[in-house]
């Protein structure tokens, strides 16, 4: 055990004093910052406004006047503010406050206002003929869409209770956004025209229609707190990401250091002092300390952030206990595999071929995370959380959703995890023993299995 400790501490020191490690450590916060800052900026619509013409045939003759006001830049601006406010109403208070203080930034993110010009066609124009207009080239103004208002759009047909709407014909290569803009504009114009036709008061109808969304309060035994759906949605991904990243950083270092020991021929010198199993145990424990360090740094950072936004109450701290437990199990499984691959190959290039399937398996739960969050207690989620080696990730994701799994499933997943870790380590140790002194041809999976049988 003393030797295992010595090896582990050397591994740990060698790993954390490596430049690559420090870079890797900073990589995740940088990636998150990039996603939070850069991506919305890149996705922010357009830098030039949408410009073009929308032709309208209004057989009712009752809608055009309203369309003229509902398709102006001022109307677009007003609707955009309304939409933003509606979205923000569902966001946590802290985010709402932050957004309110930067109304301008929200405005900027959405891009410049569209400049759509209304082209009024005669009420009895031939639709077929007008459609041809959409395919005409016009360098000055794009022919974007043709709106044909139904005859019963404002006043229902005799004996009917439902209203008609409109037909929309669009040019090819049209931005999706235009259809939304046209719909919003036509809808506003039609509603105004219908209200006028029924001699109702617009203001009254608006207030009749308006229902403020009530605040949702989550009630627990300890306290009551505002329900935070967005945060709840992000949490499972955060936990899966933490688990994945912590395992990758330790596992990768384990792999590269083992390959390096082999290629620099220091391995046999070491084997004169320790047994292969002691060496493997020391290396796995050393890198576990590295991964654990990374994990606690990130969790600490996350908790500090939540505290500063006064959102700490949203996290069930028992999740952290599960995080540590599932980290230990998942790490042991993957570290054993990474170590065995490192021992089997002669150089990193050869490791890539063996790594690809492992990485695919490692990424699987991450790919399925959305599906698990959507239905955490469905058959698919339950199955995934019981199948090694993805069970640890899947169960962590399920645990961090708003509807955690029954505790017997958690227990079963832990037992399955421990059993799979045991089997993996047993198998990896055999490959490790044989592989360390093998030089020459790069092994494939068949060779590894043969070695395991021979050992």
């Amino acid at each position: 055990m003393r030797k295992v400790g010595l090896i582990a501490s050397r591994e740990f020191v060698a790993a954390i004093t490596n430049k690559g490690f420090v870079i890797g450590l900073l990589l995740m916060p940088v990636m998150i910052a990039m996603i939070a800052i850069a991506v919305p900026r890149m996705m922010r619509g357009r830098t030039t406004p949408l410009r073009g013409q929308i032709a309208v045939i209004d057989v009712t003759g009752l809608v055009l006047a309203d369309l003229r006001t509902s398709m102006t830049p001022e109307a677009f601006a007003r609707r955009r503010v309304e939409n933003t406010n509606r979205a923000l109403a569902a966001a946590p208070p802290a985010v709402r406050d932050a957004a309110a203080s930067r109304g301008e930034a929200v405005e900027r993110t959405a891009g410049p206002l569209p400049e759509l010009r209304l082209v009024e066609r005669p009420a009895h124009a031939d639709v077929q003929h007008e459609k041809a207009w959409l395919t005409e080239e016009d360098a000055a103004a794009r022919h974007m869409a043709l709106v044909v208002v139904h005859p019963d759009a404002v006043v229902p047909a005799a004996g009917a209770t439902t209203y008609g709407a409109y037909d929309l014909y669009v040019a090819s290569n049209l931005e999706d956004q235009v259809e939304d803009l046209v719909f919003d504009s036509v809808r506003e114009a039609l509603v105004t025209a219908r209200i006028r036709a029924r001699h109702l008061d617009r203001g009254e109808v608006d207030s009749l229609m308006r229902v403020a969304r009530g605040p949702s309060v989550t009630v627990t035994k300890e306290n009551e707190r505002p329900t935070n759906r967005n945060f709840n949605r992000v949490l499972p991904f955060a936990f899966a990401g933490l688990l994945l990243f912590a395992i990758l950083i330790g596992g990768q270092t384990l792999l590269t250091q083992t390959v390096e020991e082999k290629s620099s021929r220091v391995i046999e010198v070491l084997l004169s002092a320790v047994s292969p199993i002691e060496l493997m145990a020391g290396k796995i424990l050393g890198q576990m300390a590295v991964s654990g360090l990374v994990l606690s740094l990130y969790v600490g950072m996350g908790l500090a952030l939540l505290t500063s936004f006064a959102l700490l109450g949203l996290v069930d701290l028992s999740l952290l206990v599960y995080l540590v437990l599932f980290f230990l199990i998942a790490y042991l499984v993957y570290a054993a595999i990474f170590g065995a691959i490192g021992a089997a190959v002669n150089e990193m290039r050869e490791a890539q071929a063996l790594m690809t399937p492992v990485m695919l398996v490692l990424m699987t739960p991450w790919l399925f995370a959305s599906a698990i969050v959507a239905d955490p207690n469905g058959t698919f989620s339950t199955a995934l959380s019981l199948i090694p080696p993805v069970n640890t990730f899947a169960m962590m994701v399920r645990l961090s959703t708003t509807t955690p799994p029954p505790s017997w499933q958690v227990g079963l997943s832990v037992v399955i995890g421990i059993a799979s870790a045991y089997v993996t380590i047993w198998f990896a140790a055999k490959i490790f023993k044989v592989g360390l002194l093998m030089h020459g041809k790069a092994p494939d999976f068949a060779t590894l299995i043969r070695w395991a049988k021979a050992a």
Partner: protein, 326 residues
């Protein structure tokens, strides 16, 4: 006291290749053994089995009284043929690490390492990174790593490979010094002149089998007396009378003289007297023992001529890969 190393009928195969066959060997405590044979003879496989890095298919072995070297690792110093260092570690830190893995306390390791570095001619290099050392210097560092814990048994696999003649001499002195300290030493080499100089006992191995297991002193008695180097006073003297002498097996022209191989039964003294009587000598002497000759004689079962012997000699010298100092 039980021997330092004991192998009984050990056999090891890799797939269809038999690397070691019926290997029985006993190295007493305090011995200085040379394990010699051409590349691929099975030396490294034997050593790895002694070190419990490989395990025999059949047969038994014991190391320092244990069934496996794993139980006595801290009492064994091992310099493998495939050896390396942590390139990014400092020399001192690497040696301290190795010493601690071998059970030396941190304090002892710290004090012992600088002294040993000085002994191998590398004073003040403890703070250098292994990266910054030359290959020859690293070989010496690795030797220190093998002896830093003052082991009872030292096993060196091809320790002279890749060394310049001066380093070879230094390493030989270090090996002798460790032997004098009381350590049992087993080293392998395919360059036999290295073994001739320092070994007390020779084990020859060829195609996985032991072909010789003799003390150097006995070898000298057994093989020395059977080759005579003769230089006639008159250079173009006819060697026919020598060939005709009883006990002479083979006469070979060598530069200015002849190399005369005797049959095992011949009495060298009377043959020498007869040669001198037949042809006036400029110089006549018994040839100094060359392990290479012994080996080839055993393996080819004859006087060491022919293409098979020639190929063997080439494999035993390989001056490009191993420096020799004669």
């Amino acid at each position: 006291m039980e021997p330092a190393v004991m192998l009984r009928a050990v056999r090891k195969t890799f797939g269809k290749t038999t690397a070691v066959e019926s290997m029985t060997l006993e190295i007493p405590r305090g011995g200085l053994y040379g394990f010699i044979g051409p590349s691929g003879a099975g030396k490294t496989t034997c050593i790895r089995m002694i070190m419990s890095i490989l395990f025999p298919d059949s047969g038994t072995l014991s190391v320092l009284g244990h069934a496996s070297a794993l139980e006595a690792k801290d009492r064994i110093g091992y310099l493998p043929e495939e050896r390396g260092v942590y390139r990014k570690m400092k020399v001192g830190a690497f040696l301290t690490y190795m010493a601690r893995l071998k059970g030396v306390s941190a304090a002892d390791a710290e004090t012992r390492v600088p002294g040993l570095l000085e002994a191998v001619g590398l004073p003040g290099t403890a703070t250098k990174r292994c990266d910054d050392m030359s290959k020859g210097m690293l070989q010496r560092v690795q030797f220190v790593a093998a002896i830093v814990h003052q082991p009872e048994l030292i096993i060196l696999d091809e320790p002279f490979t890749g060394l310049d003649p001066l380093s070879v001499r230094l390493l030989r002195e270090l090996i002798v010094a460790e032997h004098r300290r009381g350590a049992t030493i087993l080293f392998s080499t395919h360059v036999m002149s290295n073994a001739e100089e320092i070994c007390e006992h020779i084990v020859m191995i060829h195609q996985g089998r032991k072909v010789l297991d003799e003390p150097m002193a006995g070898l000298r008695r057994q093989f020395d007396a059977h080759t005579i180097l003769f230089e006639p006073l008159v250079l173009d003297a006819d060697p026919a009378p020598i060939r005709a002498l009883g006990g002479v097996e083979h006469v070979e022209k060598t530069g200015d003289g002849y190399r005369i191989a005797l049959s095992p039964a011949a009495d060298p003294a009377s043959v020498m007297r007869a040669i001198v009587a037949a042809i006036p000598p400029a110089r006549i002497e018994l040839a100094r023992l060359r392990l290479e000759d012994v080996f080839i004689r055993i393996v080819t079962g004859g006087g060491g001529t022919g293409t098979a012997a020639h190929a063997l000699r080439a494999g035993l010298r390989m001056p490009d890969t191993e420096g020799t100092l004669v």
